[in-house]
Protein backbone atom coordinates (compact mmCIF):
# COMPACT_ATOMS: atom_id res chain seq x y z
CA UNK A 1 0.00 0.00 0.00
CA UNK A 2 1.57 3.23 -1.11
CA UNK A 3 0.68 6.32 0.79
CA UNK A 4 1.72 9.55 -0.80
CA UNK A 5 1.55 12.59 1.41
CA UNK A 6 2.64 16.12 0.62
CA UNK A 7 5.99 17.16 2.06
CA UNK A 8 4.73 19.39 4.80
CA UNK A 9 1.95 17.12 6.04
CA UNK A 10 3.86 15.35 8.82
CA UNK A 11 6.48 17.95 9.57
CA UNK A 12 7.96 16.20 12.61
CA UNK A 13 8.29 12.81 10.97
CA UNK A 14 9.79 14.19 7.81
CA UNK A 15 12.27 16.17 9.80
CA UNK A 16 13.46 13.09 11.66
CA UNK A 17 14.08 11.30 8.34
CA UNK A 18 16.25 14.11 7.07
CA UNK A 19 18.18 14.23 10.29
CA UNK A 20 18.71 10.46 10.18
CA UNK A 21 20.28 10.70 6.77
CA UNK A 22 22.62 13.41 7.92
CA UNK A 23 23.62 11.62 11.16
CA UNK A 24 27.29 11.06 11.20
CA UNK A 25 27.82 7.43 12.06
CA UNK A 26 31.56 7.47 11.89
CA UNK A 27 34.12 6.81 14.53
CA UNK A 28 36.97 9.23 14.05
CA UNK A 29 40.38 8.79 15.62
CA UNK A 30 41.99 12.16 16.01
CA UNK A 31 45.73 12.19 16.52
CA UNK A 32 47.26 14.60 18.96
CA UNK A 33 50.91 13.94 18.28
CA UNK A 34 52.44 14.45 14.89
CA UNK A 35 54.60 11.37 14.96
CA UNK A 36 53.27 8.13 16.22
CA UNK A 37 55.90 5.40 16.26
CA UNK A 38 55.42 2.45 13.93
CA UNK A 39 55.98 -1.16 14.88
CA UNK A 40 54.68 -0.78 18.43
CA UNK A 41 52.55 -3.23 20.42
CA UNK A 42 48.92 -2.13 20.75
CA UNK A 43 47.21 -2.92 24.05
CA UNK A 44 43.48 -2.61 24.69
CA UNK A 45 42.20 -2.04 28.22
CA UNK A 46 38.43 -1.64 28.19
CA UNK A 47 35.96 -1.89 31.09
CA UNK A 48 35.02 -5.52 31.49
CA UNK A 49 34.58 -8.08 34.32
CA UNK A 50 36.59 -7.13 37.36
CA UNK A 51 37.68 -3.95 35.53
CA UNK A 52 40.95 -5.79 34.97
CA UNK A 53 41.69 -4.06 31.68
CA UNK A 54 41.09 -0.54 32.94
CA UNK A 55 42.99 -0.99 36.22
CA UNK A 56 45.97 -2.57 34.43
CA UNK A 57 45.92 0.13 31.74
CA UNK A 58 45.82 3.03 34.18
CA UNK A 59 48.68 1.49 36.15
CA UNK A 60 50.71 1.13 32.96
CA UNK A 61 50.03 4.77 32.08
CA UNK A 62 51.22 6.03 35.44
CA UNK A 63 54.23 3.69 35.73
CA UNK A 64 55.55 4.16 32.21
CA UNK A 65 54.56 7.83 31.94
CA UNK A 66 52.65 7.35 28.69
CA UNK A 67 51.40 10.45 26.85
CA UNK A 68 48.09 10.83 25.09
CA UNK A 69 48.64 10.31 21.37
CA UNK A 70 45.10 10.10 20.00
CA UNK A 71 41.45 10.03 21.00
CA UNK A 72 38.15 8.84 19.61
CA UNK A 73 35.46 11.25 18.56
CA UNK A 74 32.06 10.11 17.43
CA UNK A 75 28.45 11.14 17.54
CA UNK A 76 27.50 7.54 18.22
CA UNK A 77 28.98 7.73 21.70
CA UNK A 78 26.79 9.03 24.52
CA UNK A 79 27.44 12.72 25.29
CA UNK A 80 30.14 12.12 27.88
CA UNK A 81 33.38 13.93 28.40
CA UNK A 82 35.93 13.34 31.11
CA UNK A 83 37.34 16.34 32.93
CA UNK A 84 40.97 16.26 33.97
CA UNK A 85 42.21 19.46 35.59
CA UNK A 86 39.25 21.34 34.23
CA UNK A 87 39.81 20.41 30.58
CA UNK A 88 37.62 18.05 28.57
CA UNK A 89 38.92 14.79 27.19
CA UNK A 90 37.27 12.09 25.17
CA UNK A 91 36.37 9.05 27.30
CA UNK A 92 38.19 6.70 24.91
CA UNK A 93 41.82 7.67 24.45
CA UNK A 94 45.03 6.15 23.12
CA UNK A 95 48.25 6.61 25.08
CA UNK A 96 51.69 5.59 23.99
CA UNK A 97 55.43 5.79 23.95
CA UNK A 98 58.00 4.54 21.46
CA UNK A 99 57.09 0.89 21.76
CA UNK A 100 53.60 0.68 23.31
CA UNK A 101 50.24 2.04 22.22
CA UNK A 102 47.47 1.69 24.81
CA UNK A 103 43.76 2.23 24.15
CA UNK A 104 41.77 2.93 27.34
CA UNK A 105 38.16 3.77 27.99
CA UNK A 106 37.07 5.62 31.12
CA UNK A 107 33.43 4.80 30.62
CA UNK A 108 31.60 1.55 30.02
CA UNK A 109 31.30 0.91 26.28
CA UNK A 110 27.68 0.60 25.13
CA UNK A 111 27.18 -2.88 23.62
CA UNK A 112 25.98 -1.68 20.24
CA UNK A 113 29.12 0.45 19.72
CA UNK A 114 31.69 -2.24 20.32
CA UNK A 115 31.88 -3.30 16.66
CA UNK A 116 32.37 0.19 15.19
CA UNK A 117 34.86 1.21 17.89
CA UNK A 118 36.99 -1.93 17.68
CA UNK A 119 37.00 -1.89 13.88
CA UNK A 120 38.05 1.76 13.83
CA UNK A 121 40.80 1.17 16.39
CA UNK A 122 42.17 -1.91 14.62
CA UNK A 123 42.14 -0.17 11.22
CA UNK A 124 44.02 2.75 12.76
CA UNK A 125 46.51 0.39 14.42
CA UNK A 126 47.05 -1.32 11.07
CA UNK A 127 47.88 2.05 9.51
CA UNK A 128 50.48 2.50 12.24
CA UNK A 129 51.93 -0.96 11.40
CA UNK A 130 51.65 -2.34 14.92
CA UNK A 131 53.39 -5.66 15.25
CA UNK A 132 50.98 -7.23 17.75
CA UNK A 133 47.65 -6.48 19.44
CA UNK A 134 46.97 -7.56 23.00
CA UNK A 135 43.67 -7.20 24.84
CA UNK A 136 43.60 -7.37 28.62
CA UNK A 137 40.53 -8.59 30.43
CA UNK A 138 39.30 -10.99 33.07
CA UNK A 139 37.64 -14.34 33.27
CA UNK A 140 35.14 -14.52 36.13
CA UNK A 141 35.37 -17.42 38.58
CA UNK A 142 32.80 -18.13 41.23
CA UNK A 143 35.17 -19.07 44.07
CA UNK A 144 37.63 -16.25 43.44
CA UNK A 145 37.65 -15.41 47.13
CA UNK A 146 39.24 -18.75 47.97
CA UNK A 147 41.89 -18.63 45.26
CA UNK A 148 45.41 -17.88 46.42
CA UNK A 149 47.19 -17.97 43.06
CA UNK A 150 45.42 -16.50 40.05
CA UNK A 151 45.86 -18.09 36.67
CA UNK A 152 46.06 -16.23 33.40
CA UNK A 153 44.54 -17.64 30.23
CA UNK A 154 45.01 -16.66 26.61
CA UNK A 155 43.28 -16.88 23.27
CA UNK A 156 44.90 -15.81 20.02
CA UNK A 157 44.06 -14.99 16.44
CA UNK A 158 46.44 -17.43 14.79
CA UNK A 159 48.32 -20.64 15.73
CA UNK A 160 51.72 -18.90 15.90
CA UNK A 161 50.50 -16.53 18.60
CA UNK A 162 48.94 -19.45 20.48
CA UNK A 163 52.26 -21.26 20.44
CA UNK A 164 54.04 -18.14 21.65
CA UNK A 165 51.58 -17.78 24.52
CA UNK A 166 52.03 -21.41 25.49
CA UNK A 167 55.80 -21.06 25.46
CA UNK A 168 55.54 -18.12 27.82
CA UNK A 169 53.64 -20.22 30.32
CA UNK A 170 50.08 -19.01 29.73
CA UNK A 171 47.33 -21.59 29.53
CA UNK A 172 45.19 -21.62 26.41
CA UNK A 173 41.41 -21.23 26.45
CA UNK A 174 40.58 -24.23 24.34
CA UNK A 175 36.79 -24.22 24.12
CA UNK A 176 34.24 -21.68 25.23
CA UNK A 177 32.50 -18.44 24.47
CA UNK A 178 33.96 -14.97 24.62
CA UNK A 179 31.80 -11.87 24.87
CA UNK A 180 32.86 -8.27 24.57
CA UNK A 181 35.45 -6.04 22.87
CA UNK A 182 38.20 -8.66 23.10
CA UNK A 183 35.98 -11.11 21.21
CA UNK A 184 35.45 -8.64 18.37
CA UNK A 185 39.17 -7.85 18.34
CA UNK A 186 40.19 -11.48 17.99
CA UNK A 187 37.64 -12.11 15.26
CA UNK A 188 38.56 -9.04 13.22
CA UNK A 189 42.31 -9.61 13.59
CA UNK A 190 41.89 -13.23 12.55
CA UNK A 191 40.00 -12.07 9.45
CA UNK A 192 42.68 -9.51 8.59
CA UNK A 193 45.51 -11.88 9.42
CA UNK A 194 46.98 -9.71 12.17
CA UNK A 195 48.67 -11.27 15.21
CA UNK A 196 46.47 -10.67 18.24
CA UNK A 197 46.22 -12.08 21.71
CA UNK A 198 43.76 -11.85 24.60
CA UNK A 199 45.09 -12.21 28.13
CA UNK A 200 42.45 -13.08 30.71
CA UNK A 201 43.13 -13.28 34.45
CA UNK A 202 40.81 -15.01 36.90
CA UNK A 203 38.83 -12.34 38.70
CA UNK A 204 35.59 -11.44 40.43
CA UNK A 205 32.53 -11.11 38.22
CA UNK A 206 30.97 -8.13 39.98
CA UNK A 207 33.78 -6.39 41.86
CA UNK A 208 36.92 -4.54 40.74
CA UNK A 209 39.98 -6.75 41.09
CA UNK A 210 43.42 -5.09 41.31
CA UNK A 211 45.14 -8.40 42.10
CA UNK A 212 43.98 -9.87 38.81
CA UNK A 213 45.24 -6.73 37.05
CA UNK A 214 48.65 -7.17 38.73
CA UNK A 215 48.79 -10.80 37.62
CA UNK A 216 47.98 -10.00 34.01
CA UNK A 217 50.58 -7.20 33.94
CA UNK A 218 53.24 -9.68 35.07
CA UNK A 219 52.45 -11.88 32.08
CA UNK A 220 52.10 -8.93 29.73
CA UNK A 221 55.73 -8.01 30.45
CA UNK A 222 56.90 -11.16 28.67
CA UNK A 223 55.03 -10.16 25.51
CA UNK A 224 55.87 -6.46 25.36
CA UNK A 225 59.35 -6.76 26.77
CA UNK A 226 58.65 -3.91 29.20
CA UNK A 227 58.68 -4.93 32.84
CA UNK A 228 56.30 -3.06 35.12
CA UNK A 229 56.44 -2.90 38.91
CA UNK A 230 53.08 -4.03 40.30
CA UNK A 231 53.77 -3.60 44.01
CA UNK A 232 52.07 -0.20 44.11
CA UNK A 233 49.00 -1.70 42.48
CA UNK A 234 48.73 -4.32 45.21
CA UNK A 235 49.33 -1.81 48.01
CA UNK A 236 46.70 0.58 46.77
CA UNK A 237 44.30 -2.29 46.09
CA UNK A 238 41.61 -1.14 48.49
CA UNK A 239 41.78 2.44 47.32
CA UNK A 240 41.38 1.29 43.72
CA UNK A 241 38.39 -0.85 44.69
CA UNK A 242 36.76 2.15 46.29
CA UNK A 243 37.46 4.48 43.38
CA UNK A 244 36.39 2.00 40.75
CA UNK A 245 32.97 1.37 42.32
CA UNK A 246 30.92 3.64 40.09
CA UNK A 247 32.63 2.53 36.89
CA UNK A 248 32.01 -1.08 37.94
CA UNK A 249 28.31 -0.36 38.42
CA UNK A 250 27.97 1.14 34.93
CA UNK A 251 30.01 -1.67 33.43
CA UNK A 252 27.74 -4.22 35.11
CA UNK A 253 24.70 -2.66 33.44
CA UNK A 254 26.35 -2.76 30.02
CA UNK A 255 27.60 -6.32 30.52
CA UNK A 256 24.11 -7.46 31.43
CA UNK A 257 22.79 -5.96 28.19
CA UNK A 258 25.54 -7.71 26.25
CA UNK A 259 24.61 -10.99 27.95
CA UNK A 260 28.11 -11.46 29.31
CA UNK A 261 27.02 -14.50 31.30
CA UNK A 262 27.14 -16.50 28.09
CA UNK A 263 30.84 -16.89 28.82
CA UNK A 264 29.87 -19.33 31.56
CA UNK A 265 28.01 -21.52 29.08
CA UNK A 266 29.37 -24.84 27.95
CA UNK A 267 29.49 -24.78 24.18
CA UNK A 268 27.84 -27.37 22.01
CA UNK A 269 30.78 -29.01 20.35
CA UNK A 270 30.78 -28.15 16.66
CA UNK A 271 34.24 -28.19 15.17
Amino acid sequence: MILYLPQGFYPLLNKSFEEDEKLNDEIKIIERKKEIPKGAVMIFGFPDVGLVGVIAASHLISELGLDEVAYIESQLLPPITVLHEGLPHSPIRIFGNHNILLAVSETALPGELIYPIMHALIDWARSKEVKMMISISGIPVQDRQDLEELKVFAAASNPEMLKMAQDKGVEILREGYMVGPQAVMLQYCATLGLPALTLLAQCFLQYPDPEAAAKVLEHLASFTGVKVDVSKLLEKGEEIRLKARDLMKRTQQELAKMRKTQEYDIPLYIT
Partner: protein, 151 residues
Protein backbone atom coordinates in the same frame (compact mmCIF):
# COMPACT_ATOMS: atom_id res chain seq x y z
CA UNK B 1 10.90 14.06 -7.84
CA UNK B 2 11.08 10.34 -8.53
CA UNK B 3 13.64 9.95 -5.74
CA UNK B 4 11.26 11.46 -3.25
CA UNK B 5 8.44 9.20 -4.35
CA UNK B 6 10.54 6.06 -4.01
CA UNK B 7 11.78 7.30 -0.65
CA UNK B 8 8.22 7.57 0.64
CA UNK B 9 7.27 4.24 -0.86
CA UNK B 10 10.02 2.55 1.19
CA UNK B 11 8.50 3.79 4.41
CA UNK B 12 4.80 2.99 4.46
CA UNK B 13 2.55 4.18 7.24
CA UNK B 14 2.73 0.82 9.04
CA UNK B 15 6.50 0.97 9.25
CA UNK B 16 6.22 4.47 10.61
CA UNK B 17 3.84 3.35 13.33
CA UNK B 18 6.01 0.35 14.22
CA UNK B 19 9.09 2.51 14.46
CA UNK B 20 7.26 5.01 16.61
CA UNK B 21 6.12 2.38 19.09
CA UNK B 22 9.55 0.79 19.19
CA UNK B 23 11.19 4.09 20.00
CA UNK B 24 8.50 4.75 22.61
CA UNK B 25 9.23 1.44 24.31
CA UNK B 26 12.97 2.08 24.28
CA UNK B 27 12.38 5.50 25.81
CA UNK B 28 10.12 4.06 28.52
CA UNK B 29 12.80 1.49 29.34
CA UNK B 30 15.44 4.20 29.69
CA UNK B 31 13.20 6.31 31.92
CA UNK B 32 12.50 3.32 34.12
CA UNK B 33 16.22 2.71 34.51
CA UNK B 34 17.08 6.30 35.40
CA UNK B 35 14.20 6.51 37.84
CA UNK B 36 16.02 4.23 40.24
CA UNK B 37 19.44 5.77 39.83
CA UNK B 38 20.92 7.74 42.65
CA UNK B 39 24.53 8.67 43.40
CA UNK B 40 26.26 6.01 45.39
CA UNK B 41 27.38 8.39 48.11
CA UNK B 42 25.27 10.27 50.62
CA UNK B 43 26.76 13.42 52.13
CA UNK B 44 24.18 13.88 54.86
CA UNK B 45 24.81 10.53 56.48
CA UNK B 46 28.46 10.28 55.32
CA UNK B 47 27.93 6.87 53.80
CA UNK B 48 28.94 5.16 50.61
CA UNK B 49 26.89 2.42 49.03
CA UNK B 50 29.07 -0.63 48.35
CA UNK B 51 28.83 -2.99 45.39
CA UNK B 52 26.87 -6.14 46.09
CA UNK B 53 25.74 -9.33 44.44
CA UNK B 54 23.11 -11.96 45.26
CA UNK B 55 23.31 -15.58 44.19
CA UNK B 56 20.42 -17.96 44.78
CA UNK B 57 21.34 -21.65 44.89
CA UNK B 58 19.14 -24.62 45.66
CA UNK B 59 19.75 -24.59 49.44
CA UNK B 60 20.98 -21.15 50.25
CA UNK B 61 21.20 -17.54 49.23
CA UNK B 62 24.70 -16.05 49.12
CA UNK B 63 24.99 -12.29 49.37
CA UNK B 64 28.45 -10.83 48.74
CA UNK B 65 29.36 -7.23 49.43
CA UNK B 66 32.61 -5.55 48.44
CA UNK B 67 33.89 -3.57 51.43
CA UNK B 68 37.35 -2.12 50.87
CA UNK B 69 38.94 -0.42 53.89
CA UNK B 70 36.28 -1.84 56.24
CA UNK B 71 37.16 -2.71 59.82
CA UNK B 72 36.13 -6.26 60.45
CA UNK B 73 34.76 -5.76 63.97
CA UNK B 74 32.47 -2.93 62.91
CA UNK B 75 30.56 -4.87 60.28
CA UNK B 76 26.90 -5.21 61.18
CA UNK B 77 24.29 -7.23 59.35
CA UNK B 78 20.76 -6.53 60.51
CA UNK B 79 17.43 -7.91 59.47
CA UNK B 80 15.06 -5.08 58.67
CA UNK B 81 12.04 -7.02 57.53
CA UNK B 82 11.38 -10.60 56.59
CA UNK B 83 13.06 -10.24 53.23
CA UNK B 84 15.45 -7.31 53.61
CA UNK B 85 18.82 -7.14 55.27
CA UNK B 86 20.86 -4.08 56.02
CA UNK B 87 24.65 -4.10 56.00
CA UNK B 88 26.77 -1.39 57.53
CA UNK B 89 30.46 -1.11 58.29
CA UNK B 90 32.92 1.52 59.38
CA UNK B 91 35.96 2.33 57.27
CA UNK B 92 39.46 2.28 58.64
CA UNK B 93 40.10 5.77 57.40
CA UNK B 94 37.96 8.68 56.34
CA UNK B 95 37.61 9.11 52.62
CA UNK B 96 36.81 12.51 51.21
CA UNK B 97 36.21 13.82 47.73
CA UNK B 98 39.61 15.50 47.85
CA UNK B 99 41.25 12.08 47.80
CA UNK B 100 39.75 11.51 44.37
CA UNK B 101 40.76 14.95 43.19
CA UNK B 102 37.17 16.17 43.12
CA UNK B 103 36.91 19.71 44.39
CA UNK B 104 33.38 20.65 43.39
CA UNK B 105 31.74 18.37 45.95
CA UNK B 106 32.41 18.56 49.66
CA UNK B 107 32.04 15.60 51.91
CA UNK B 108 33.75 13.00 53.99
CA UNK B 109 32.69 9.42 54.25
CA UNK B 110 33.38 6.94 56.91
CA UNK B 111 30.69 4.30 56.69
CA UNK B 112 29.35 1.82 54.23
CA UNK B 113 25.63 1.20 54.22
CA UNK B 114 23.34 -0.72 51.93
CA UNK B 115 20.08 -2.59 51.97
CA UNK B 116 19.36 -5.70 50.00
CA UNK B 117 16.12 -7.44 49.30
CA UNK B 118 16.32 -11.21 49.33
CA UNK B 119 14.15 -12.58 46.54
CA UNK B 120 13.25 -15.96 48.11
CA UNK B 121 12.15 -16.94 51.65
CA UNK B 122 15.09 -17.66 53.94
CA UNK B 123 15.80 -18.42 57.57
CA UNK B 124 17.23 -15.12 58.75
CA UNK B 125 18.26 -16.37 62.16
CA UNK B 126 20.57 -19.01 60.67
CA UNK B 127 22.71 -16.51 58.80
CA UNK B 128 26.46 -17.26 58.44
CA UNK B 129 28.84 -14.41 57.87
CA UNK B 130 32.38 -14.59 56.52
CA UNK B 131 34.72 -11.71 55.81
CA UNK B 132 37.72 -12.53 53.67
CA UNK B 133 40.01 -10.19 51.73
CA UNK B 134 37.64 -7.28 51.95
CA UNK B 135 34.61 -9.19 50.66
CA UNK B 136 31.76 -9.91 53.04
CA UNK B 137 29.90 -13.14 52.34
CA UNK B 138 26.52 -13.79 53.96
CA UNK B 139 24.97 -17.21 53.60
CA UNK B 140 21.29 -17.65 54.36
CA UNK B 141 19.66 -21.10 54.22
CA UNK B 142 16.55 -21.20 52.11
CA UNK B 143 13.13 -21.93 53.50
CA UNK B 144 11.34 -24.51 51.45
CA UNK B 145 7.73 -24.04 52.46
CA UNK B 146 6.27 -27.07 50.82
CA UNK B 147 7.30 -29.61 48.30
CA UNK B 148 5.16 -30.66 45.41
CA UNK B 149 5.33 -34.44 45.09
CA UNK B 150 5.92 -35.86 41.66
CA UNK B 151 3.41 -38.48 40.75
Amino acid sequence: MSEEESFRRRRSIFDLIDEYFESLEAWAERVRETFFERPSWNCRTCTIEPLRDIMVTSDEVIVTVDLPYAEQNTIQVKQVSKDTIEISAKMRRKVSFDDFGITHHRGEFQRFHCRTKIPVPVYMDRMEIRFKRGILEIRLPRKHEYEIPIE
